[in-house]
């Protein structure tokens, strides 16, 4: 201890340097920083800083798409075609100018690589065997994009605004090819984009260091460097922020945020998040027939103590939300007709003859806040005469069981993959029994009629009609499905009060560091 004191006396602590933003979060989830492959939360959060797409949501209003690497677009040669004119002055961080070849290379590459996020591009009907015929260079500044799926241009633009459609510097990648991998191995830890930042260093499970890209077509960012450090423990992240060695701390628990509120030199920013939590009851699990009974689904809706979970247990980090489209999406249904009502639930169960020995197993992730939520469910369902066995497991284990429909019930969360209602609707309200493991399929919910409505809404070109269609679909899922949506997350970040200009949107990729100053 004496040694500690002596050393401490000699150490002058350097706080985070002035031109460097230090962000602490859990980075262990990152598997790849190749936008055609990476699909983990931390990686997706970085993509908007590293890469740009032809079009992207406006950071101030995500419902508005802005041309970014495209300067404009117009209808193409057919109903399933768009022509994009590229920004003449756009350059990648390497200095190479943007060309139609880069657009074609990036989109073809993503489809042929066939990694996790490719299903987003597959929505356009793009497959590895025909993608080469869907993209054409018209001249040095224009590229034509075609698609075979029955969807309108607005939907196509939404798809092209997702991170998997990021435009890469084909010439830079050409010098990093390895065994026909299209640069995949190199791009896992390097960047070749035109975003406001570029990767200086990526050390897996340790840190992602980004340097400003002065050539970014949208303008150079305000800060020179962002250091995103992997600090797995939330309590340690809080300490780093309090001391000033970190400028932003992500993923702090409700208790930690409550403790930091009002502290000098710190502030807590709150952003809406598209992440929703729901209870999945698996009607396809024949070992527990009660789960297939719609009366059981109804009773369950009245046995969740939504408000207490949101306000008391999770201390405002979530709000009650009972439709699958998160608030902020066009067409989100904002009604919350259900609340804890034990007598009503008991009445429904009695009418259905579900009074004796009703129970189910609830799979949850073995991490906060799932344990707290599950305990609340256990208590409130017990009041309705339903016993819950909680089964905490690793996330990968839970997902493996759900994909096989081996679970009885699970408390899960959902984050849209791209900024369009179809991303979520096609999960909650589409089950064609064709082997596609949508959430409706995983719940064993047979919905041929509703599936047609969902496909119709995706193809609908009129934006207002589309909104009406999605409102009706949400109302059906809200009232009559084995998918009981309960909460929407509020993303809350703690940061030093000298950090200004940080912006964040609804979806996971909408993290903007380019205007941050400190």
């Amino acid at each position: 201890m004496l040694g500690t004191a002596l050393l401490g006396a000699a150490v002058a602590h350097a706080r985070s340097p002035p031109n460097v933003l230090v962000v602490v979060q859990d980075l262990d989830d990152i598997q790849s920083l190749d936008p055609a492959e990476g699909f983990e939360l931390s990686g997706v959060q970085a993509f908007t800083s590293l890469y740009q797409r032809l079009v992207q949501p406006d950071p101030a209003d995500a419902t508005v798409l802005r041309p970014i690497l495209a300067s404009r677009w117009e209808p193409g040669s057919g109903p399933h075609s768009l022509i994009f004119e590229l920004r003449a002055d756009a350059r990648f961080a390497s200095g190479n100018p943007l060309r139609p070849e880069d657009v074609i290379f990036s989109l073809v590459r993503a489809v042929k690589l066939n990694r996790a996020p490719v299903f987003i591009l597959n929505e356009l009907g793009w497959r590895a065997y025909d993608i080469d015929h869907q993209l054409t260079k018209l001249d040095d500044h224009r590229v034509e994009v075609r698609w075979s799926a029955n969807v309108g241009p607005a939907f196509v633009l939404s798809i092209l605004s997702s991170p998997v459609a990021s435009i890469l510097d084909a010439r830079q990648i050409a010098s990093h090819l390895s065994g026909g991998d299209n640069g995949n191995a190199w791009l896992r830890g390097h960047s070749a984009g035109s975003g406001p930042f570029q990767i200086r260093t990526y050390i897996a499970h340790e840190a992602l260091v980004l340097d400003a890209n002065p050539l970014c077509p949208a303008g150079s960012p305000r800060l020179g460097t962002i250091v995103i450090r992997n600090v797995a423990d939330a309590a340690v992240r809080r300490l780093l922020l309090e001391v000033g060695d970190a400028d932003i701390a992500r993923d702090l628990g409700p208790d930690q945020l409550a403790a930091l509120a009002g502290r000098p030199h710190l502030k807590i920013l709150q952003f809406p998040s598209a992440s929703i939590h729901y209870l999945l009851l698996n009607a396809a699990n024949h070992s527990n027939p009660a789960l297939a009974n719609p009366a059981f689904w109804q009773a369950a809706r009245w046995l969740i103590d939504y408000q207490t979970i949101a306000d008391k247990l999770l201390k405002g980090s979530y709000e009650v939300h009972q439709a699958f489209l998160a608030d902020g999406f066009p067409g989100a249904l904002d009604t919350t007709p259900f609340h804890l009502d034990v007598p009503r639930a008991r009445q429904i169960l009695e009418r259905a003859g579900l009074t004796q020995g009703v129970h189910f197993e609830l799979d949850i992730f073995n991490q906060p806040p799932f344990g707290e939520i599950a305990q609340s469910l256990q208590a409130s369902f017990a009041r309705g005469g339903i016993h819950i066995d909680i089964r905490p497991q690793l996330a990968s284990e839970v997902y493996a069981r759900i994909r096989q429909r081996a679970e009885q019930a699970a408390w899960l969360y959902w984050i849209p993959d791209y900024f369009d209602a179809n991303s979520t609707a096609s999960a909650f309200a589409l089950n064609r029994e064709d082997g596609v493991a949508t959430l409706a399929w995983r719940a064993g919910w047979h919905i041929p009629g509703l599936s047609s409505q969902t496909e119709g809404a995706r193809a609908e070109p009129d934006a207002n009609k589309r909104v009406q269609l999605y409102l009706a679909i949400q109302a059906e899922v809200q009232s009559n499905s084995p998918l009981i949506i309960a909460l929407q997350e509020r993303s809350r970040l703690a940061m030093r009060d000298n950090v200004q200009g940080y912006r964040q949107g609804l979806n996971a990729d909408m993290v903007y560091y380019d205007r941050v100053t400190k």
């Binding site: 500690t4 050393l7 996790a116 450090r229 992997n230 797995a232 690793l394």
Partner: protein, 329 residues
Amino acid sequence: MRGLVSLVLTLVVLVVVTFLLLKLSPIDPALARVGDHASRSAYLQMRQELALDASWPLQLSRYFGRLFHGDLGVSLSSGQPVADDLRRVWPATAELATLAMAVSTILGLALATIAVRRVGRLSDGLIRLISLVGNSVPIFWLGLIALLVFYARLQWVGGPGRLDDAYEYTIAMPTGVVLFDAWRSGMPGALVSALSHLVLPVLMLTAYAIGNVTRLSRTTLLKEMTQEYVTLARAKGAGELRVLLHHVLPNAAALILTALALTYASLLEGAVLVETVFARPGLGRYLTTALFGGDLPAILGATLLIGACFIVLNGLTDLLVRLVDPRAR
């Protein structure tokens, strides 16, 4: 030669057992890789790339085939060759464990010696209590408390991470041993920063190791104190300190060395909690992350390295024991 054959056989058995245990795990490595939202086509492609549909003997034989050529495969969770990952994390753990072991050995032996000289008295009781606390207090909790007091409140030492932000990811780290790399950087501040960030994690590991070292050394020394040669030495007029240092300690050295080696090995693979609390890279954290993600190549690579460390440490301990104790030759 016999030693080498034994080493190889042990490692082969270790890999086979680890592999079979992982096959019993409910984690689907392909699903962990592509995520829950991936299409069936992407999922099946990943299964094919990971050769998960092949029989397990075939998978195992392929692994050994690559291993024979020095290829540990590519980690699924980091996307990097496992050999590169291990080259990065292993020096960090070795540095931490070695420093902690050095401090534990010096302090532990000193405390054990004092305890033996004052057996049954208050100081002996206190030393036994310290040993017990070091072993029984959760290191995760102790680490957080230490950070709160000495880093956040008193600001005497560096906090999580290996260097202050001004140096971290700025100086080159060719060896992965932060003290050496900081010294080589030519920036005096970097070396001070590295030392400052090492203090608490080393002390936390020491708190754990010192309990083992003190308790085992005390027990061994006390047992030796009852031997006839001790009585003879005392009868010939030797003082207690001389008896302890010149007669008892050399005779107890073999057992103490074995205890030290086992403690050191446990630090090499068991520093995961300290690495997590202090946000330092290391083998323990690497292996834990790999286990949660079903990252087979990383798990097997890390297991091989840890196994090799145990075997090498055992061999070195045998050698040392023979050197210091003629009875073992």
